[in-house]
Symmetry: C2
Subunit: 251 residues, 2 copies
DNA sequence: CGGGCTCTTGATACGTGTCAATGTTGGTGG
DNA sequence: CCACCAACATTGACACGTATCAAGAGCCCG
């Protein structure tokens, strides 16, 4: 289901960007915001389950997520799919495609999403005009790398139930930091198919593993999604501790 | 076996850096080389099997590999180890530690290695003074990300024999591009333990899987390492094609 | 009202892990 | 120079975790 997403004129000014009000993002200088504002080209509204970027394409744009949940993935020729990571507000999408020749993975929306659109051709001027923002981009790339490292450790060396615990704890953590979850809204809008394709497990075994987590009182499954009851319990089971929260940049 | 590596005065000038003569690296301007030269602090000689960087440490340095093979890895509390990626000449090591607070993985040498040492505190001035080099760093980070994506796909969705084929084809490719392998020197200096910890398999099953590849005439195993006989055969078996070789930067 | 998704559950098959024993090689010290 | 030891590699038997197959229930949306 690939819906061609609509690209709209700017509705949210960078000067009053809702992300900047979140606790987890670093403050920006007036000058930086100004540059980003003129770097921004528009907004993209994507339906739930629509494809935002596809492997092999040469996109003229890159994006920052303003709202919604999505994920990056790759597929093998015979259709086997591996979800690589999830994207939440504040995350960049398509940076790889902007730097390398073409996208090496696809991106899909899990919920309706809003994305800021930037022009790929102006990327280099960002490095020239604002070294601090260039540094931020490298920082963001290094952070993505660190996350992928953890996923690799998880898929390679953890058992099914440990993997599932880690992943849900991870998603909970990211959702909280991105302002998508809080003490009242704890619902992660994900299907068991998504989890299976992230964990490297079959969907049947994923289902049975989630049931164990439900039975242990760590999570609830309802409304086509997951509600984390006991994040620390998940972390203990997985043997994972999230890095100390630290002010992060975004573009 | 953690040997404290020796740090020596500079013996290889950036102006006659041996890496720049390799086909796969992009040319640099005189000015850029000059900057890198004064960014460089010394050289590090690491013994085979010594640890170069350890998870949790705050290193004052970052490195570029000049010679030798090494790898990045993480371990769980109970000792389970996952190798994340390999490093060959031209690769940066420790960038994550330079950007984030501390290293989130360890790095170990598989053969004797030489590394250029750079000072972490001067990293930001690289972005200020040479936007092109800052761009290169982001490029390198995005490339590492793309590699990790492929590893995730492999561990998550390929069978044991497909995984092993992919990994050996990948190592062969990287070794060729880095000038560590050529038509006469085809020996990859790696143990089956390393492969097992990369593939997310037990060492016994790794051994049996490698035997199948030997029986198919795709590789040889000898001299504590692997000799790739038929790289295209490995690629076919894995369903993997290396990206077209493209001039890459390094610092 | 029907037809997809999504989720659930049991039975069975298969891939991979674990255990145990042995062979091989290279390095070290007497 | 030889003896010994520690990594590394190999192989078979068996156990266990996860995949696959199959059937059905619940739910949302057209």
């Amino acid at each position: 289901m690939t819906v061609e997403p609509r690209q709209n004129p700017i509705r949210v000014s960078c000067f009053e960007c809702p992300l900047r009000q979140l606790r987890s993002f670093r403050p920006f200088s007036e000058e930086e915001v100004e540059f980003v504002a003129q770097f921004k080209r528009g907004e993209l509204l994507a339906d739930a389950n629509s494809t935002i970027l596809v492997e092999g394409a040469r996109s003229a744009h890159l994006y920052t997520v303003l709202s919604g949940w999505g994920f990056r993935y790759k597929i093998l020729e015979d259709g086997r799919r591996q979800i690589l990571n999830y994207v939440v507000p504040g995350d960049m999408v398509g940076l790889q495609g902007a730097l390398m020749a073409e996208m090496q993975h696809s991106v899909e929306a899990m919920t309706p999403m809003t994305l800021c659109v930037f022009e790929r051709s102006k990327l280099f001027s960002l490095f020239e005009r604002h070294a601090g923002l260039g540094y931020d981009l490298t920082w963001l790339a290094a952070r993505e790398e660190a996350i992928l490292d953890e996923h690799l450790l998880s898929i390679g060396r953890r058992s099914a139930i440990e993997r599932a615990s880690y992943l849900l704890a991870f998603l909970f953590e990211r959702g909280m930091n991105a302002g998508m979850l809080d003490d009242t809204r704890r619902h992660i809008p994900i299907t068991q198919m998504h989890l299976a394709d992230t964990l490297g497990l079959s969907i049947v075994h994923t289902n049975k593993t989630l049931r164990k987590l439900v039975d242990r009182g760590l999570i609830l499954w309802r409304d086509r999604g997951c509600e984390v009851i006991n994040p620390e319990g998940l972390q203990d089971l997985a043997g994972w501790t999230p890095g100390e929260p630290r002010l992060r940049p975004f573009i």
